[in-house]
């Protein structure tokens, strides 16, 4: 780490994430040395030792760029998001979790109470005979111990603080990260609010051939050996390339595996699932309501997992119905009712 105060300051932080985004940053290879040459790195818990209070002591807006990965699901993460927002000139939602909730955001199909029940009341891998649950405050002889509050709803970074830019992807491809870092280094950034990435969809860069074929049933990947040339969707495999931002080079469909949407919604798509619904409606070959229902029920048993695997927290509706909110029942009970 350089001590030259004249260099622009860079902070990297992680919240509710898996660490893959951090690995992806290192994936730029020896260009990381260039990053260190250009920036004064002031915070990067995964790679270097920094103290939080030195960030707290900084003047507002004294960090030039903060790359924040991870969603926000605890008060500690929200505290860090607010702190880094206040200290940074440019806040970047880095990677799918910060951008759209990603896999941690799938917790929005459940609640804090349900998660605590399975983790502490009825845990499968540890014993908790006294049913101990984490408390916000615990008094000990040495003083009070604090734990962060665990939220019911996982939030994306832009639902918690203002964000200037978004770098999509689970994780972002290293080439795209380097492009974004280059833009920052050269002062060549687009308008605030921009998603730094391709404007087209995965379908646009996918070499598979699209005809106008429609289908009578959806198939799981293990059910067929897909033709290597033809569009997967036209073979009945639900591929999310049509709603997903390009940037990966259509790696999955090229090897016969459908796009699952890890690069997030394409430019102009607000709700990933809504775009998928629109697209799939054009592929189903039936004008009979009953047959349509059958194709959907059999082919898409888990619409949230299918359409919102990466974007539930950032979708229009953000989560499933909370039990008891406005007197509503949980989803399962509604289905059986």
């Amino acid at each position: 780490m350089s001590t030259n105060g004249s260099k622009p300051k860079l902070a990297l932080y992680w919240a509710a994430s898996c660490g893959g985004c951090e690995i992806a940053v290192l994936g730029i290879g020896d260009k990381i040395l260039k990053v260190d040459e250009v920036f004064d790195i002031v915070l990067w818990p995964v790679a270097m030792d920094f103290k939080l209070h030195s960030i707290e002591a900084m003047e507002d807006k004294s960090i030039d760029v903060c790359l924040f990965n991870g969603a926000v699901r605890t008060s500690e993460q929200e505290y860090m998001a607010r702190l880094l927002r206040a200290k940074s000139k440019v806040m970047v939602a880095f990677g799918s979790c910060a951008h759209e909730g990603c896999i941690p955001g799938l917790a929005n199909v459940t609640t804090r109470e349900e998660i605590f029940q399975s983790s502490y009341d009825d845990p499968t891998t540890v014993d908790n005979p006294n049913g101990v649950r984490p408390q916000l405050e615990t008094e000990t002889d040495e003083g009070t111990l604090y734990l962060p509050m665990f939220y019911d709803t996982v939030r994306t970074l832009d639902q918690v603080v203002d964000v200037e830019y978004t770098i999509p992807g689970c994780p972002p491809e290293s080439d795209r990260i380097w492009e974004a870092l280059t833009a920052i280094i050269e002062g060549n950034l687009p308008e605030p609010g921009t998603v730094i990435g391709e404007k087209s969809t995965v379908c646009d860069v996918c070499p598979r051939v699209r005809t106008d074929k429609t289908i009578k049933e959806f198939k799981r990947t293990w059910e067929i050996e897909p033709d290597p040339e033809i569009c997967l969707l036209e073979q009945g495999i639900i591929c999310c390339g049509i709603a997903t931002r390009a940037g990966c080079g259509a790696l999955c469909p090229q090897v016969g595996s459908p796009c699952i949407g890890c690069y997030g919604p394409a430019e102009g798509v607000t709700d990933f699932g809504a775009r998928m619904i629109s697209a799939l409606a054009s592929v189903i070959d039936s004008d009979d309501p009953e047959e349509i229902d059958r194709i959907i029920q059999e082919g898409i048993p888990d619409p949230i997992g299918q359409f919102y695997r990466f974007g539930l927290a950032h979708s229009r509706l953000r989560r499933t119905a909370m039990p008891g909110a406005n007197g509503h029942q949980p989803a399962e009970e509604e289905v059986t009712a």
Partner: protein, 165 residues
């Protein structure tokens, strides 16, 4: 307890060629029907992006009514068949999310069917009134204790600072 004063807010997407005219007809014929539907005219029910419906619920609508020409009578050949398939997919997804089924409805109504449209509006308003307000934005509202918990983090850090000093 159902709120006696609750008036459902229902967003209606009516196609220009049949259903909007059906609504016009219901009006000129002075038919009585519930005033709870805010009608948005679209050129075709096939224009109704599922995102419009999600947005309506996310912004506080209690129900969404999509109305279009009868299958086979679409002004744009077969776009309302697309609506039919989208609606099925949308309903399937909303069910998983936990939005009650009766809050979304697809109604075919030709330009001559003002009475049918008016009746479907009445039915839907009655059903949604029984269900009560949806108030979806409340689902993700942060509880007031959150601010306190964040302050606690600050207090904890201040304490840690004292130790290091």
């Amino acid at each position: 307890m159902p709120d006696e004063n609750f008036e459902p807010k229902i967003i209606g997407f009516f196609c220009n060629w049949c259903s909007y005219r059906a609504a016009d007809m219901a009006g000129t014929a002075r038919m009585n029907y519930e005033p709870n539907v805010r009608i948005i005219r679209v050129m075709c029910s096939g224009r109704v992006d599922p995102d419009f419906v999600m947005a309506a619920f996310a912004k506080g609508a209690d129900g969404v009514l999509i109305a279009g020409c009868h299958p086979g009578e679409c002004h744009y050949n077969n776009q309302n068949f697309k609506t039919m398939r989208r609606y099925a997919l949308l309903k399937h997804t909303l069910r998983a999310i936990g939005v009650e089924e009766e809050r979304i409805r697809l109604q075919w109504a030709s330009a001559a069917e003002g009475a049918i449209l008016a009746r479907s509006i009445d039915e839907m308003v009655e059903r949604v009134r029984e269900l009560g307000p949806l108030n979806w934005p409340k689902q993700w509202e942060a509880p007031p204790e959150v601010e306190e918990a964040i302050k606690m983090m600050e207090a904890e850090h201040a304490e840690a600072l004292e130790v290091t000093a």
